[in-house]
Symmetry: C2
Subunit: 338 residues, 2 copies
């Protein structure tokens, strides 16, 4: 991709193996997806109103809703990357070959080949009140499929786009044999052209080094606490321990809050009456990679196993989530699993 | 002000007395403040990073932090309005005469004269993680001061600017003798020029007409529940009654969430250990007017009186808040006051 700011591309290159085997990831895939994030941000920012989504306008055309616009921007970003061979999304949950722009060239057999899975616009319930929402992208080291692979080793990068007063993104990279990294970038009005690295290394340090006044909790699916006394007891624990509540109801802003503040625990337990609803392919696996690359943990609240320990069987597979600061995740698991 | 979209100005005019006594409010003050909101949104959106706020840049100038930039944009908006005679803000909490642009002209004695009180950028704790933040503005029917006046009758309008993926604003107007109104507008890339009315009449209907699955609560200052068993019991009530939790920690997004969803209760109680911290002049009174104009209530959790029932003694006066759907506020007060 032309015009990538040298600082960003040099920085990403420095996080990857030096043997040139990840050139497309650093020079094409990650920058192009970040440009897609910037394009989504611009589309959202230019809209005065999203509540009319799906209705016909005065010309008889369907007005595009923001989910569809976001989906298109990510697809357009992927079409610029010859190494992205297959993609699926929460809006169109079937893995299909990516149709590339005629100008993007072809990929040699044996060269880098990726599968991308994404949720173009997460947080639909908070779009109307104009709260921060996000995009979730997972990049898999495989040109055929993200299914029936080991997420821990095959999902080698993830990107979270954050649409708030500014446009920011979190990029996590973990190539087997290379140290994991997690960074935050800020995208200005020209998108990738004026992208800056805000936090070169996001960390979720251990609990001992955290000021007790700046501990945060985000209890998702809180209705489950009405039926699950262990979840209720855990929530009471955070309140009586004077943790600060921050819960927007958007998965991206809620997890990014912890990453930027350097502490946090996000809980979305599963109970008999409130089923698992987070999609493993489009939400859980990319978020888990981001959190792990920052030194945190992301686990399944049902059995305490790492989200990334289990292969994904199909595009619609779902689960719960506990993630954030590693010590906090361990504590929460003890509370939930008894 | 030139270039005001005729739809917006005609709509606002329709909410005001027809005798021409509020022409400056409709044609100048409200539009100019909305343009200021759009200018703040643009400044935030163009920033890739706000964490460097207050540090010196390579030219030796202080980089402006976003609070200072926001303050300047509101001041510039007020300088365009000859009828705004006095202003104070949370950043500069002293009432001073407004210095007008040379081109704005003068105001006749006896014509409309206003005092404006504003919080230029509310929600500083959630700016770094890129969550939605806002501006709060109260407009008082008096060219000298907002202090020692009856807020219920003297504060005749309020505006909330909402900076998220989009730029929106809530405008509330209550001129004595005229029906109260509360509307939401969306500001596009050209600000006031492409402003649209998203919700012409925001209402918080009575609880009977609310779907039990779409009830919301926002428990601010939740640490207080650790010391106050009545607050803790109230929070437990919302959980066991399966209300949906939405709490960003930003006063503007939290209150606007209720307004847009048509239901919600926001609680910021005051206890012995956790003191009142919301400023009456810059936060509580404008928010209370907005909520009341939508048919809701906003009360002091210490004694249950309406926020707008008591005069403001000084610019720094503080208090707690319970606001939202009227039935919910009543229920919460019973819980908190026993």
């Amino acid at each position: 991709m032309n015009g990538v700011p040298s600082l960003l591309s040099a920085h990403i290159q420095s996080l990857l193996p030096r043997d040139g085997t990840r050139e497309a990831l650093a020079q094409s895939v990650i920058p192009s997806i970040l440009q897609g994030v910037s394009d989504i941000a611009k589309a959202l920012h230019d809209a005065q109103d999203v509540t009319q989504a799906g209705t016909a306008n005065s010309f008889g055309d369907d007005q595009l809703n923001v989910d569809v616009i976001s989906e298109r921007h990510v697809r357009t970003a992927l079409a610029r990357c010859p190494s992205v061979r297959v993609a699926s999304s929460e809006e169109d949950p079937i893995e299909r070959p990516v149709e590339h722009d005629a100008s993007t060239g072809s990929v040699q057999a044996g060269a880098e080949q990726y599968t991308v899975a994404f949720d173009p616009l997460d947080g639909s319930s908070i779009i109307a009140p104009n709260w921060t929402v996000g995009t979730i992208v997972g990049i898999w080291d495989n040109g055929q499929t993200a299914l029936s692979q080991s997420p821990a080793s095959s999902q080698i990068a993830a990107i979270l786009g954050v649409y708030g007063p500014r446009t920011t993104a979190v990029v996590a990279i973990r190539i087997p044999g290379t140290p994991a990294s997690c960074l935050e970038v800020g995208l200005g009005p020209s998108g990738l052209e004026d992208c800056v690295i805000v936090r070169p290394s996001i960390r979720l340090p251990s609990l001992q080094s955290i000021n007790p006044k700046t501990r945060y909790f985000a209890p998702a699916n809180l209705r489950a606490a009405a039926e699950d006394e262990r979840y209720m007891a855990l929530v009471s624990h955070y309140i009586t321990s004077k943790y600060t509540l921050r819960y927007s109801g958007g998965l991206v802003p809620d997890v990014v809050h912890a990453l930027v503040k350097g502490h946090g625990v996000y809980l979305s337990p599963v109970t008999e009456a409130s089923k698992a609803k987070l999609r493993r392919l489009y939400e859980l696996c990319p978020l888990a990679l981001v959190v792990e690359c920052a030194g945190g943990r992301a686990v399944d609240p049902v059995d305490g196993t790492d989200i990334l320990a289990r292969e994904i069987g199909n595009c619609d597979e779902r689960g719960g989530l506990v993630c954030g600061t590693a010590d906090e995740v361990e504590f929460a698991l003890k509370g939930l699993l008894g």
